[in-house]
């Protein structure tokens, strides 16, 4: 699904990267405020939804090749967060809705959840 459709589905404000939304395809999303959980469980290349606003959100996304970040419940990312995202050409979207509602709208629109692997299993590429 194009990031543009995702943005429309949640009536997002595009803080950065409006011109990139038609070029980025996203199939999966992961919502969390724990970046260690994101590193553990988000599929590479999936969309990240979070209510945290610090620069580590973008760094964490960078490690996982996450193409764009949605900040939920009306939280505005800090200036340095947006600047780093801009330098990586990583669109930054804002949702005024709660994490639950934002995720729910995306799920309804057909965005898929990340699979939480068994703790006994190794990471598969």
């Amino acid at each position: 699904m194009k990031l543009r459709q995702i943005s429309d589905a949640i009536e997002a404000i595009v803080l950065y990267g409006n011109e990139l939304l038609d070029d980025i395809d996203v199939d999966y999303a992961y919502g969390a405020d724990l970046m260690s959980d994101v590193l553990a469980f988000a599929n590479p290349g999936s969309l990240l939804l979070t209510g945290l606003t610090n620069v580590q959100i973008v760094r964490t996304s960078q490690m996982l090749d996450i193409p764009a970040v949605i900040f939920v419940r009306g939280k505005r990312p800090r200036e340095e967060t947006v600047k780093l995202a801009e330098s990586l050409k990583m669109p930054v979207l804002l949702s005024s809705k709660s994490m639950f509602e934002t995720c729910g709208l995306l799920y309804k629109a057909g965005v898929l959840p990340c699979n939480i692997p068994s703790r006994e299993a190794k990471v598969e590429d």
Binding site: L34, S36, D37, L39, A40, P44, Q62, M63
Partner: protein
């Protein structure tokens, strides 16, 4: 054998810049043509290790060695050490401060994340002397 190696110094308590070493490492691996899935695993390991150095160890060094068949990442510090490694490896166990938790870290997933992404991982730690986390990722196979 052609080995590429480099190291990054990590400052303790430097929360603003944590992740910059791992980002640089990830870019270096891209430049030498390491596949993206391997790069991601290496960068997650380096990032978690970097976070540990900043949070717990008062800083340290991350070294990496790229061999034809594997990448070795070694995070070394002279911090307080880990009294009970098995406990530290448990998901959810953490001694991180509230400040760290507000950044979205300190959830007690770091060491298990490293282990999950590594093909082999070894922790050597002495209380009062420091910790070495030695991880290997195989490039092929």
């Amino acid at each position: 054998m052609n080995i590429i190696q480099d190291e990054f110094q990590v400052q303790g308590g430097d929360f603003a810049n944590v992740g910059t070493a791992s980002t640089a490492l990830k870019s270096s691996l891209e430049m030498i043509g390491i596949p993206s899935a391997i790069r991601r695993r290496v960068s997650i390991i380096a990032y978690e290790a970097e976070m540990n150095l900043v949070i717990h160890a008062g800083g340290g060094v991350i070294r990496y060695y790229v061999y034809p068949d594997r990448i070795n990442i070694v995070a070394e510090d002279e911090g307080p050490g880990i009294p009970d490694i098995d406990l530290a490896m448990e998901e959810g166990y953490s001694t991180a401060s509230d400040e760290i938790r507000e950044l979205g870290f300190g959830a007690g997933m770091g060491l298990s994340n490293i282990k999950r992404n590594a093909d082999t991982m070894e922790i050597r730690s002495e209380v009062g002397e420091g910790t070495v986390i030695d991880s290997v990722i195989f490039i092929s196979g």
